[in-house]
C-alpha cells in the first residue's frame, strides 16, 4: 500500500508570485484556460523582493519538492528595483542550496509579466516536469511535519 502511494507521489510546488506581474500573469493563464499541474500552489507577495530566503528553506523543510519564484521582468518592477534585490539574494541562496545537497533545479526564478499568461503556464509545466524527474525532496524535510 505504501509503495503504491510512493509511486503516485505528486510533487508539491510552492510558487511565490509578485502581485503586479506574475500573479496577474497567473490570472491571465487562468482566464485563458491554460492549464498547469494542480500541485503548483501560489502564494501572493507584494513584490518578489518580499520573499525572504527563509521562506524557501521553510518550504523545503515542510516537504515542498520545488520552489519557484516569479517576478516582473528586470527593469519593469512595480517598485522600480525590487526584483534586482531578488535576483542577487536568490543567486546566493541557490548556490548555498547546492551546498546542502538540494538540487539546484528544485528552485528557479522566472520573470513573468502581467501579459504573459502563456509563459506562466509553460514555465509551470516545465518546472513541474523537472521536479517530477527529480523525485521527492528528502534532504531538508522535517520528518515531524509528515504524517505518522
Amino acid at each position: 500500500m505504501q509503495e503504491i502511494e510512493k509511486k503516485e507521489h505528486k510533487p508539491l510546488i510552492v510558487a511565490f508570485c509578485c502581485n503586479w506581474c506574475s500573479y496577474a500573469g497567473a490570472d491571465l493563464a487562468g482566464s485563458s484556460r491554460l492549464s498547469y499541474p494542480a500541485n503548483v500552489k501560489i502564494i501572493r507577495v507584494p513584490c518578489s523582493c518580499r520573499v525572504n530566503p527563509i521562506f524557501i528553506l521553510k518550504a523545503f523543510q515542510r516537504g515542498a519538492d520545488g520552489v519557484i519564484l516569479c517576478g516582473c521582468h528586470p527593469g519593469d518592477c512595480h517598485y522600480s528595483t525590487g526584483n534586482f534585490h531578488t535576483r542577487r539574494r536568490m543567486g546566493i541562496l541557490f548556490s548555498l542550496l547546492n551546498y546542502f545537497g538540494i538540487e539546484k533545479e528544485r528552485t528557479r526564478i522566472e520573470w513573468v509579466s502581467a501579459a504573459e499568461g502563456q509563459k506562466f503556464s509553460l514555465v509551470m509545466n516545465d518546472f513541474a516536469k523537472t521536479i517530477c524527474s527529480l523525485g521527492e525532496n528528502r534532504r531538508l524535510e522535517d520528518l515531524r511535519c509528515k504524517k505518522n
Binding site: L12, V14, N19, W20, C21, Y23, A24, A26, D27, A29, G30, S31, R33, L34, S35, Y36, A38, N39, K41, I42, I43, R44, V45, P46, C47, C49, R50, V51, N52, P53, I54, F55, K58, A59, R62, G63, A64, C72, G75, D76, C77, H78, Y79, S80, T81, G82, H85, R89, S113, A114, A115, E116, S121, C145, K146, K147
Partner: protein, 663 residues
C-alpha cells in the same frame, strides 16, 4: 478566540463545474477557528454580499475568507462588504479558486483538493491578520499627459474642461502628433487638419492647459495623487515667448539639408524651422545637427533677421519639476522600419512608399502641395498598387504578430481618394483579409470596390522589382489561382504600426508593465481598459494597442474621466499594507534605508528604557507610512528582523507555506 467565516462562491458554473463546493465547505469547517462556512452561487452579487454581512453579524465573525475569483478582481468588493458589516476590511482574505484552480484544471478530484488547500492557506493567513486602518494622503489637483497627439489633446481638453490644470509633455516641437500628418480621415473623409487644428488651438488658448513641447520626461517619483515629475525642456535656441512664428528665419537659413520629419523625410527643411503651418506653439526651433552657427560658430543669419530678437544660441536644456495627481500616457505609434522586407524593394526604389508617406504626398501642405506625384520623377502615377499587411500578422520574426487594425481602412480611403481625384488612374489592392469592423466601415470599403472600381486582389505580393522604370509587382491571385505581375508606377505599402520606441523608457520610469510587442498593459483586458496596474496612471491611444482615430478619442476621454474622478477627491485612502519597524529589535544598521526605493525610511534617535530606571539613546528606523508603498525590500534586508510588513508579514507567509505543505 477567533471566529472565522468561510464563503465559497460557485461563480455560476465557473467554479462549481470543476470544484465540488460542498466538499470544500465541509472540509473548511474542520479547520481551526472556522465557525461558519457556506457556499453560494454568486458571492459578489447583492445577495451574496448580504449573506456575508448577515453571517458576520450573527456569528460575530472576527475574520472572513472568501473562496472565489482572483483577489485582483473582487478583493476590494469583499473588503467593502466586511466594512459595511462592521468588520475591519483587512480581516478579509481571498482564496483564488477560479483563475488558479477551477479554470485551469479539468479533473474534479484534483481541483477540489487544490481548492481545499487554497482555502486552508487563506484561513491560516487570516488567523494572523490584524485590523489595519488606511492612512490618507492629499491629491495634487493637476494632471500630466505624456504625448501631445490626438489622444493627449483630447484627454487634456476634457480634464481642463472639468476645471483641473493639465500639463502636456510632447517630445516634438509641436503638438498634433500623427493625426496632424494625415490628409483625410475615414470613414467620412473629412480633412484631418480641419478637425484637429481647432482642438490644438483650444489647447493653446485654454488657461488650464500648459504645454511643454520639445520636452521629455526625465524622472518620475511618488505615487497616485502625489507624483513628482522632472521634465527636460530641450533647448530650442529660440525664445518661445518672443518668437512670433513669422517664418523670416526659415526663409533666410542657409542650411537647408535637414530632412523634414513632418513630411516623412520626403523633402528638406531649413535648420531653423516650424514643423508645419498650423503648429502649436507656432514657434521656430533650431536643429542643432544642421545649424551652421551651432556647429561651426559661423552664420548667425537668423539672429540678424529675427525682428523679435527671439534667437538665443546659448540656450541650454532646462529641467522643470512639477507635481501631479494623475498621469495619462499617450505616446502613440510609428510605422515599423522595413529593413526586414527587401522583397518589396522599399530601400531601392523611390516609388515604393509607405502609406504615411502617401498621406503626405496627397496632403495640400505636403511636399507636392497635394498633387499626387511619384517621388522619383514627379510624374503622375497611372497605375498604383497597394500592398496590405506589410509586417502585420507576421510571426516569422520579420514583422509584428498582431493586426495593425487601421491599414484596411486607410488603404480603402487612399484608393478611393485617388480614384476620385484622378479617375484615369488604375488602382490595385493586394489583400489577405479585409477587416472593417466599425460603424460605416464596411460600407466604406464596399464603396471603394463598387463605386470607385478599385481592383481588390485576394493574394499577397512576393516581389517588387524595377524593370525599365516600371515597378513590377509580382503576386498571387488566390481566387483565380494565378500568379500575376502588375507593372505599376507607384507601390504603396500598408506598413504595420508599432508603439513609439520612447514608450519603453516611459514604462520603466512609471513602472507600468509592457507586453512583448511594447504595448502598455492595461489593468484588465475588458473591465479596466484605460487603467494601469499602477494606480494613478492611465492609458490612451495606440500605446495600449492599435487603434484608429475615433477609438483613440474615446479612450482618451475615458482616461480623462478617470483622471477627473481621481482629482475630484480631496483625500486618497492609502495602502495600509506598509512596512513597520520593531524599535526594540532594530540595531540601527541603515540597510533598510539603502534598499528603500521611495526614501520612506529615516533614522531617529530615540530613548529606550533599559531597566533599573535607566534609559539609553539608540538610532532606530522609522517608516513614513504615507510614502512607503509596501514592496517589502526592507523586510528581507533587515538583519535583525525588526522590519515587517502589514498584510504580508513574516509570520503570515510562513503560515501560508505551512498550510500549503501540510499533507
Amino acid at each position: 478566540m477567533q471566529r472565522i467565516g468561510v464563503f465559497i462562491c460557485h461563480c455560476g458554473t465557473n467554479i462549481a463545474a470543476t470544484v465540488d463546493v460542498e466538499r470544500v465547505t465541509e472540509a473548511v469547517k474542520k479547520e481551526p477557528y472556522v465557525v461558519f462556512a457556506q457556499n453560494y452561487q454568486y458571492m459578489c452579487s447583492e445577495n451574496g454580499q448580504q449573506l456575508i454581512k448577515t453571517a458576520i453579524r450573527e456569528n460575530k465573525l472576527t475574520g472572513v475568507v472568501v473562496c472565489s475569483c482572483s483577489p485582483r478582481m473582487h478583493e476590494a468588493t469583499f473588503r467593502k462588504t466586511a466594512e459595511e458589516a462592521g468588520l475591519n476590511p483587512y480581516l478579509v482574505e481571498i482564496a483564488n479558486i477560479r483563475e488558479q484552480c477551477s479554470w485551469i484544471h479539468k479533473d474534479i478530484e484534483e481541483a477540489t483538493e487544490k481548492a481545499i488547500v487554497l482555502a486552508r492557506t487563506a484561513i491560516a493567513k487570516l488567523t494572523l491578520n490584524k485590523p489595519l486602518i488606511a492612512g490618507e494622503t492629499g491629491v495634487t489637483k493637476r494632471a500630466l499627459i505624456i504625448g501631445g497627439g490626438i489622444a493627449g489633446i483630447q484627454a487634456a481638453l476634457d480634464i481642463a474642461d472639468a476645471g483641473y490644470e493639465v500639463d502636456i509633455v510632447e517630445k516634438r516641437p509641436t503638438i498634433g502628433g500623427r493625426m496632424a500628418q494625415l490628409d483625410k480621415t475615414f470613414p467620412t473623409l473629412d480633412c484631418a487638419a480641419c478637425i484637429l487644428t481647432p482642438k490644438m488651438v483650444d489647447c493653446a488658448q485654454n488657461e488650464k492647459i500648459n504645454m511643454f513641447t520639445y520636452s521629455e520626461i526625465e524622472e518620475v517619483k511618488g505615487f497616485v495623487g502625489n507624483f513628482k515629475v522632472k521634465i527636460r525642456k530641450k533647448a530650442r535656441y529660440v525664445d518661445e515667448k518672443k518668437c512670433t512664428g513669422c517664418g523670416v528665419c526659415m526663409a533666410n537659413c542657409p542650411s537647408k539639408k535637414g530632412l523634414n520629419e513632418f513630411n516623412m523625410d520626403l523633402n528638406n527643411r531649413p535648420a531653423i524651422y516650424i514643423p508645419f503651418a498650423q503648429a502649436i506653439p507656432n514657434v521656430a526651433v533650431i536643429d542643432p545637427e544642421q545649424c551652421l552657427k551651432l556647429k561651426t560658430g559661423k552664420c548667425g543669419l537668423c539672429q540678424m533677421k529675427c525682428g523679435a530678437g527671439a534667437i538665443d544660441y546659448t540656450q541650454k536644456d532646462e529641467i522643470v519639476e512639477r507635481e501631479y495627481g494623475a498621469i495619462v500616457v499617450a505616446t502613440g505609434f510609428r510605422p515599423i522600419k522595413l529593413d526586414n522586407f527587401n522583397e518589396y524593394g522599399y530601400a531601392d526604389n523611390k516609388d515604393v512608399i509607405t502609406s504615411l508617406e502617401l498621406e503626405r504626398l496627397m496632403n495640400a501642405a505636403g511636399p507636392t502641395k497635394g498633387t499626387l506625384l511619384r517621388p522619383s520623377d514627379l510624374t503622375h502615377p497611372k497605375v498604383i498598387t497597394f500592398i496590405q499587411c506589410v509586417g502585420s500578422r507576421d510571426v516569422s520574426g520579420c514583422g509584428k504578430p498582431y493586426c495593425s487594425k487601421i491599414c484596411c481602412m486607410y488603404t480603402a480611403k487612399h484608393a478611393m481618394l485617388i480614384r476620385e481625384k484622378y479617375p484615369d488612374t488604375e488602382v490595385h489592392v493586394f489583400y489577405i483579409d479585409v477587416r472593417t469592423p466599425g460603424k460605416n466601415y464596411d460600407e466604406f470599403y464596399r464603396r471603394a470596390v463598387e463605386q470607385y472600381n478599385v481592383d481588390y486582389i485576394k493574394g499577397m505580393v512576393g516581389k517588387v522589382y524595377n524593370e525599365n522604370g516600371k515597378l513590377m509587382v509580382q503576386g498571387s491571385n488566390l481566387l483565380d489561382n494565378e500568379q500575376i505581375t502588375i507593372p505599376s508606377d507607384l507601390v504603396v505599402l500598408a506598413t504595420a504600426i508599432e508603439p513609439d520606441p520612447s514608450v519603453r523608457d516611459i514604462a520603466t520610469k512609471l513602472t507600468i508593465s509592457i507586453d512583448t510587442n511594447n504595448f502598455l498593459t492595461e489593468a484588465h483586458a475588458k473591465l479596466k481598459p484605460v487603467e494601469c496596474a499602477t494606480a494613478g496612471v492611465f492609458l490612451a491611444g495606440v500605446c495600449q494597442g492599435p487603434k484608429d482615430v475615433p477609438e483613440t478619442v474615446s479612450q482618451a476621454s475615458a482616461a480623462a474621466s478617470k483622471v477627473i474622478g481621481l482629482l475630484a477627491k480631496d483625500k486618497l485612502k492609502g495602502n495600509p499594507c506598509v512596512s513597520h519597524c520593531d524599535e526594540n529589535t532594530c540595531i540601527g544598521c541603515s540597510q533598510c534605508e539603502q534598499v528603500c526605493p521611495y526614501g520612506a525610511i529615516t533614522y531617529e534617535e530615540k530613548e529606550f528604557r533599559i531597566g533599573g530606571g535607566k534609559t539609553e539613546k539608540r538610532r532606530v528606523a522609522c517608516v513614513n507610512p504615507a510614502v512607503c508603498q509596501g514592496c517589502g525590500a526592507c523586510t528581507v534586508t533587515c538583519p535583525s528582523g525588526a522590519m515587517d510588513i502589514h498584510g504580508f508579514s513574516f509570520e503570515q507567509i510562513n503560515k501560508e507555506i505551512e498550510a500549503i505543505c501540510k499533507r
